[in-house]
Each structure stands twice: as C-alpha cells, then as structure tokens.
Amino acid sequence: MNASAQVIPSQARRRRAGGMARREAIEGYLFILPWIVGLIVFTAGPFLAGFLLSFTDYSALQAPNWTGLQNYVKVFHDQNFYLSIFNTLYYVVLSVPLGMVIGFGLALLLNQKIPGIAFFRTAFYMPSIVPAVPSIMLFLWILNDRFGLLNGFLSSIGISGPDWLTSPSWTKPSLVIWSLWQVGGSMIIYLAGLQSVPQELYEAASIDGAGAGRKFWHVTIPMISPTIFFVLTIGIISSFQVFTAAFLLGSGNYGMPGAGPLNSLLFWVLNIYQQGFYFYRFGYASALAWLLFVVIMLVTLVQLALARRWVYYEAETPGR
C-alpha cells in the first residue's frame, strides 16, 4: 500500500467535521439574514441617523445644515418641553404604581382554584384586549361630563363629578383611570408568577409557625420579586412613551392635534410627533427623541442597579 495515498482516519474525520461545521455556520447566518438586514436598515441605521439629525436643522422643506448643539439649546429654552416632562412624569408616577398595586391585588384574588375563577379572570383581562382606539372612544363617552356613566354614577351618590375631559386639571387623571382599566395584562403576568411559587415553601413556612401575613412577606413577595421587577420596568418604559391614548383623549378642537385643553395632555412623545409631523422640524424632533431615549435608558439602568437590593433570584436551574 502506497503510504502517501493513505489518509489518517482522524484527520479525515476532522476535515469532514470542519466542513460540516462551516456549512452549518453559513446556513445559520443565512437563516438569520432577514433579521440582520432589518437590524441595519430599520434599527441601527435610523438610530444613528436620528442621533446625527439632532445636530441639524433638517426640516422637510430644506436640506439639512449642521447646527451643532443648537437644537438642544432650543429644547432647554422651550416651555412646551418642560410642560411635556411634567405631564409625562405625572402620568408615569400615577399610573405605574397604581396599576401595579391593582394588577397584583387582582392576581392575588385570582390565585385560588375556586368555582368560577376562569370567569373572573376573563372579566379582568378582557378590557386590555379591546383595541386602544375603540377603548378610548368608549372612555370619551363614559367620562363625558354631562351624560357620561362615571359622572352619572357619582351624582347618584351625591358627588358632583368634574369635567373629566375638558378641564386641564382632570385630563391626566382621566388618562390614568383609563390605563387602570387595562391592568389585565400585567395581572396575567403576576398570576403566572404567583402560580409558579412552589407549594413546599408555604408548607415549610407553616411548619415553622408562620401565619398568612408572614408567608406573604417572606415567601410570596421574594419569590415573585423578579416578576414585579419586570412589570415595573416595562411599565415605566412604556408609560414614558404614552401616545395613542393621550392623542385620542386630547383630540378635539384645541388647535394643536391631541394635546388637550391648555396642553395638559402634551406628553413627550406627542411633542415629538407635533414637532416632527406637524411642523416638520425633523432635526429638532430628533433631539427631543434622543433626550427621551437617554432618560429612559438612565431610568432603566438605575432600576437595574437597585434591583440587586430587592429582587430575589433563585439559582439558575442547571443545564439551561
């Protein structure tokens, strides 16, 4: 047998294995190619472009000129900017904690296998299924100051209800009320978290003589803290970006689209929308958008940092 013609079996195996691995890698990249292209064209590209745009005076009518930090200076001198921050924070600070408490409370109520529990779960969850636009239309009617259901109900118990939608001081609370009707979504997440707490922990606590209260604070809450953290983080991020509901609630003959009486519903994203799509000040609006992004990122980072203190994670199950 000619020695040079002999191929050492292990080398051949490695070459075959290397070829297969390379083929698999190429196919892998091909399969995820749509996402990669999308990432560049619709995410990373626009992301960077927005950053650059914020330093120009680009409007739909003229080519962009580099203006440096001028947009940002303008932003910090703009009354509407500070108003939009106030309105946004008002909404976040009111709707997120209230929503979490109510959502969690409902989940606790539902966390029992009693007859009819599925009906109640559906009852609480269904409102959050209704599309936002019809849902706001419904609330425009319910909150109507003269014929609405809410004021009618209040008057029947002797309270004269406010002008929910036309008074500048009540428009944001109206929006918060609407947002609370939607807690079904987060309730479902809490419920799943509650149901995944192992029964053995409660039993062990009982054996140690713990009553319901201590079981709640020392078993339930720690075990569900990751879920709470998740809902809190997502809740804050999304309420910072409130738009559709606010836009519709504030629609009406107030001049500027969707800002409500005395701009009481002028939220950050709505301001961006107005500046960008009403005034076509793309450069300025991009600066506003970037500031919002930075704020959201900072808030999220602070939350992540604080999470170490109060969020309790079980050890990762091995093999995942």
Partner: protein
C-alpha cells in the same frame, strides 16, 4: 370558608366594574339620540336600534377602511410568521460563531424605545417614495420582529435535537427540517405569534397616522378617529363602530385564550 366568601365579595363587584364599560359600549350603540342622555341610564334599550350599525357603517367609508386594515394586517402577519420562523430556527437549531451574542442583541432591541427610530425611518420611507402607501407598514414585518424571534426561538429549542439529527441523516436540508418537522410541532407558539401579530397590526394607530395621508388609504383606527372629529356628539354611532372594530379581537380571544396568556407570560418569563 370565611376566606372564600370574602374573596367572592371582592371578585364580584370588581368584575362588574371591569365589565360594565364593555356592556355600556354595546348598550349605547343600540340607543336613540334621546336615550343617550337619560339618567338613570338605560342598560338595555328597548327596542334596540340595530339600524345604528347600518347607519354608522355607511356614514363613512368603513368598508374601505376595513379592507385596508385587512390587507395590511394579513400581509404583515405573513411576513412576521415567515421571518420570525426562519430567524428563530437559525438561533435555536444551528450553531455559528457569535450566535449567542447576536441573540443578546435581539433581546436588547426588544427593549429599545421605538420613538428614537420614528423620524429617521419616516425619512427613509420618504426617500423611497413609500409615503401614503401600505409599504412602510408591511415591509418591516418581513425582517424579523425581536419579540416573535424570541418567542419562537424558546419554543424551537424545546424540541429534541435528536429529531432533527435523524432527519439530517435521512438527507433533509435545514429548510425541509424547518418546514416539515419544526413548524408542525410548534403550532401553539405559531398560534400565539399570529394572534399577537394580528392584534398589533389591527390596532396600530401611530403607523397609519404618519404614513397614510389620503382617505382612500385610511385604516380602521384612523378612520374611527376621523369619524370622531366629525361626529363628536353621535355617540351611538361611535360606539357601534368601536364595537365592530373590537369584535374580531374579542372573538379570537374567546377561541384562543391560552395563546394570549402564553404570549404575555412568555414576555414575563424572560424577566
């Protein structure tokens, strides 16, 4: 025992509070002008004015709006399904350098506030000449939405590798494995994807608001908002259209509750 009574004592009034607005929507839609302002409120108008629905539907081109919404929703759903399946398959079943890092990027973009890319993306579509067409609302769906990629990838990973190994030995390509093995086994996850894609597109407001400028292109969300501007006192018509617009989603919900719940829980599990 007392605990149970207390629980029902809380659950029943609360569910009344949560359901009342929906009942009210239906009830209002069947009222006459005069009945709208009555107090105590009429919960079941007699006789119910079903004609309101016909009036409301024909008082604005809602059939057109519905058609537009359906076209956009259906094509976007198809795109989400195809792209998320392919990309998730790559992340879940294939090995390639940088796979795990890239998947972390997918997760990161899930959390990205959309507002930052809003204006540059608009400018992009403007340059492409796609303004006032359905394209900006459809085309991005064909490139893989992070949440759906995540959803499917988790599911695909739970399918034993031995099955695809066996198929490979039989000479099947990755594409065949995806189409004939993985997808049929993933029906629950695909159902969840389709449901969330449906609701996301059906309910989309900001997208149509900035990209669709002429009435012939409006979707139901925009059409309903324009209708509000023009008929701000005829709440029975407003409620009728609102109810019609919510109906498809409520129906889907009743048939596929567990898929809804799974989608929401999946997004929570990741946290």
């Amino acid at each position: 025992m007392a605990g149970r009574v207390l629980r029902y004592a809380a659950l029943i009034p609360l569910s009344v509070v949560f359901l009342a607005p929906l009942v009210w929507m239906l009830s209002t839609s069947l009222k006459t002008d005069r009945q709208l302002g009555l107090w105590p409120p009429v919960w079941i108008p007699t006789p119910p004015v079903w004609l309101n629905y016909a009036h409301a539907w024909t008082s604005a081109p809602f059939a057109l709006y519905a058609r537009n919404t359906l076209i956009i929703t259906a094509t976007a759903m198809l795109g989400q399904l195809l792209s998320a399946s392919a990309v998730a398959y790559g992340f879940a079943r294939l090995r390639f350098p940088g796979r795990d890092i890239l998947f972390i990027v997918v997760l990161a973009t899930m959390m990205l506030p959309g507002v930052v890319t809003l204006i540059p993306t608009y400018i992009l579509f403007q340059k492409l000449g796609w303004l006032n067409t359905f394209l900006p609302l459809i085309v991005p769906a064909y490139f893989g939405a992070p949440f759906f990629i995540f959803l499917l990838r988790q599911f695909f990973r739970s399918i034993p590798m031995e099955l695809s190994e066996a198929a490979k030995i039989d000479g099947a390509s990755n594409l065949r494995i995806l189409l004939q093995l993985i997808l049929p086994l993933s029906r629950p996850a695909l159902a969840t994807l389709l449901i969330f894609s449906f609701t996301g597109n059906w309910n989309d407001f900001l997208g149509p608001l900035i990209y669709l400028n002429t009435q012939d292109k409006y979707t139901l969300t925009i059409g309903l908002q324009v209708f509000l501007q023009q008929n701000s006192t005829q709440f029975q018509y407003l409620m009728a259209i609102s109810f019609l617009m919510s109906l498809p989603i409520i129906v889907v919900f009743f048939f596929a509750q567990q898929h809804f719940v799974r989608g929401i829980v999946m997004s929570g599990i990741k946290g």
